[in-house]
């Protein structure tokens, strides 16, 4: 199956997106950004629709729009007395509706819309793959360079600020990078499912309770592994690639959860039962 050029490209994209989502997902889970991840990824569909109608590159407009929404969410939830999760709910459903309305203005939109919502591995071109690889490399370098600073901010924003770190700038950077990652993953798993690749591998890594460096590494490995296995399964059984990649990641999560519980059962010291009357 790897003789096909499209499969080779899809495989490269799966590894790339898996690794990238693993790194970003670590921060998403650590900083409890799961819902903002949903908000950013879902609202990108508004930007994609604008791009298609205006004849620009939909991935570019999608990225710009997603970044704008991320900043808008940060701005409104800072300055107004509505809670952040509510602001996310308002913004993403608004831009989602905008996207659907704009798509429906174009005839024969259904196929197009669905390929952005659920991914379309056949649409990955070589040029795009190279662009995605460059963007991912830049994101990874940025995240690794600012890793320590992000960790410090994750644990105590006030202390980090007292030590002279630019907390606001780093938080904005994280949101921007998140928005870019979402768009990078759109061809592989689609805007509605990219959230799963951010959260699930990182959640699996948390369950193993290793130190943070190992968690990041494990999350990237699991991300890439579920990308590749999911893609192979999708090819064999003729499934949607995005759905099957996420299903593999979720299966890994539940296996880990089971292993975690069994491990905990065995670890319980026997002396506890002796204490009971």
């Amino acid at each position: 199956m790897f003789d096909f050029a499209f499969m080779q490209r899809a495989l490269a994209a799966a590894v790339l997106v898996g690794v990238l989502c693993g790194i970003l997902g670590f921060f998403v889970v650590l900083r409890r950004l799961a819902f903002i991840g949903v908000g950013i990824s879902h609202s990108a569909i508004g930007g994609v629709a604008i791009g298609i109608l205006a004849g620009w590159n939909p991935l570019l407009t999608g990225a710009v729009f997603a970044i704008a929404v991320a900043l808008g969410i940060a701005l409104v939830s800072r300055s107004d007395n509505i809670s952040e999760d509510t602001v996310i709910g308002v913004f993403f459903s608004g831009s989602m509706a905008l996207g659907v309305v704009l798509f429906s203005m174009k005839s024969g939109y259904q196929q197009d819309l669905f390929s952005y919502l659920f991914g379309n591995v056949l649409a990955i071109s070589t040029v795009e793959l190279v662009a995605l690889a460059c963007a991912s490399a830049v994101i990874m370098v940025i995240m690794l360079l600012t890793f320590k600073e992000h960790m410090l901010i994750s644990f105590d924003e006030e202390v980090a600020a007292a030590y002279g770190h630019k907390v606001l700038a780093m938080n904005v950077l994280l949101l921007v990078v998140l928005a870019l990652t979402v768009v990078i993953g759109v061809r592989l798993v689609g805007l509605l499912l990219i959230q799963a690749l951010l959260v699930v591998p990182a959640a699996i890594a948390t369950l193993w309770a290793l130190n943070f460096r190992w968690q990041v590494l494990l999350a990237t490995l699991i991300g890439a592994l579920s990308g590749v296995v999911g893609l192979v399964l999708a090819y064999q059984f003729d499934l949607a690639a995005g759905g099957s990649i996420v299903m593999v990641a979720v299966a890994l999560f539940f296996i880990t959860l089971l292993a975690h519980f069994i491990h905990r059962q065995f670890r319980t010291p026997p002396s506890v039962s002796l204490d009971q009357p």
């Binding site: 007395n81 459903s93 309305v101 959260v199 003729d238 999560f253």
Partner: protein
């Protein structure tokens, strides 16, 4: 004048209009507590999880309301249980449960070979497909949700504003939350026919926020939010007939527009 009344001559439009008013009102009412309890993510997650149930019930041939309803109630209980464990962060756990159900739906749809109108309707809603039976189901479930909400209003209010003191007065916050999340699940199921799983959370979240902008009193908020929801939904529905775009999206766009108008007016005045 005739052109303005023209849509009401069609039965499908009248059904859709009634359904969207009911859904707008009940989502707004439930949404007040969703926003105050900061459960927006759970509402969104429930809607997404529902997609798996909707797809499976279409393929197996079970009635949508029964299949998706059972699926949503099970997901609601799961989310409720998981979000109280300290194993993984609550938000990550909700993410895992809901995306797995959603991805299952996507994978199953793709084997089904026909990415047809049924699934588009599950995603974005389809007002034209509202049969009189659907209308009855939507009306009765919404009435039931509103009734239960009114019956448990004291428990809800107390556990929302002071979850620590409420148990002292004999209110089980855990049980109240479970009941509420089940009610939310039922509301989402009743609304997906109109708005679809991707847009339903807008109807739950946006009207209460608009209400919050307009009043500071809780009782007033409870009264005006369903009205805002119903009026916006009716307006969106009505506009979608003339502009010829998906009615679910048009309804949500109306919500968003009103939100930006009301919010923008506050910003201009500089009031907080």
């Amino acid at each position: 004048m005739n052109t303005l009344l023209e849509p009401f001559a069609y039965e499908f439009f009248r059904n859709g209009m009634i359904a969207s008013v009911i859904v707008g009102a009940v989502c707004g009412y439930v949404g007040v507590y969703v926003v105050l309890r900061r459960m927006s993510y759970i509402g969104h997650g429930l809607a997404h999880a529902l997609f798996g149930g909707a797809v499976l019930s279409t393929i197996v041939g079970v009635n949508f309301f029964i299949g998706a309803g059972v699926w949503a109630l099970v997901s609601a209980v799961l989310i409720h249980l998981i979000s109280h464990r300290r194993l993984v962060g609550a938000d990550a756990a909700i993410g895992v449960v809901t995306t797995s159900s959603f991805a299952l739906g996507v994978a199953v749809v793709s084997t089904y070979r026909r990415f047809t109108l049924d699934f588009e309707a599950a995603l974005f809603g389809n007002l034209l497909g509202i049969t009189p039976t659907d209308l009855w189901v939507i009306a009765l479930t919404s009435a039931a949700v509103a009734f239960v909400m009114i019956v448990i209003r004291h428990e809800l209010l107390f556990s929302t504003f002071d979850p620590e003191v409420a148990p002292v007065y004999g209110i089980s916050t855990g049980r109240t939350e479970l009941i509420f999340i089940l009610l939310l699940a039922v509301t989402v199921v009743a609304s997906t026919r109109i708005l679809g799983v991707t847009l339903v959370s807008a109807a739950v979240v946006i009207p209460p926020v608009i209400g919050r902008y307009l009043t500071q009193r809780f009782q007033t908020l409870l009264l005006i939010t369903p009205v805002i929801g119903a009026v916006c939904a009716a307006t969106g529905m009505y506009l979608s007939y003339f502009i010829d775009i998906s009615s679910g999206a048009m309804i949500v766009l109306t919500f968003a527009l009103v939100f930006f108008l009301v919010g923008g007016r506050r910003w201009l005045r500089g009031t907080r």
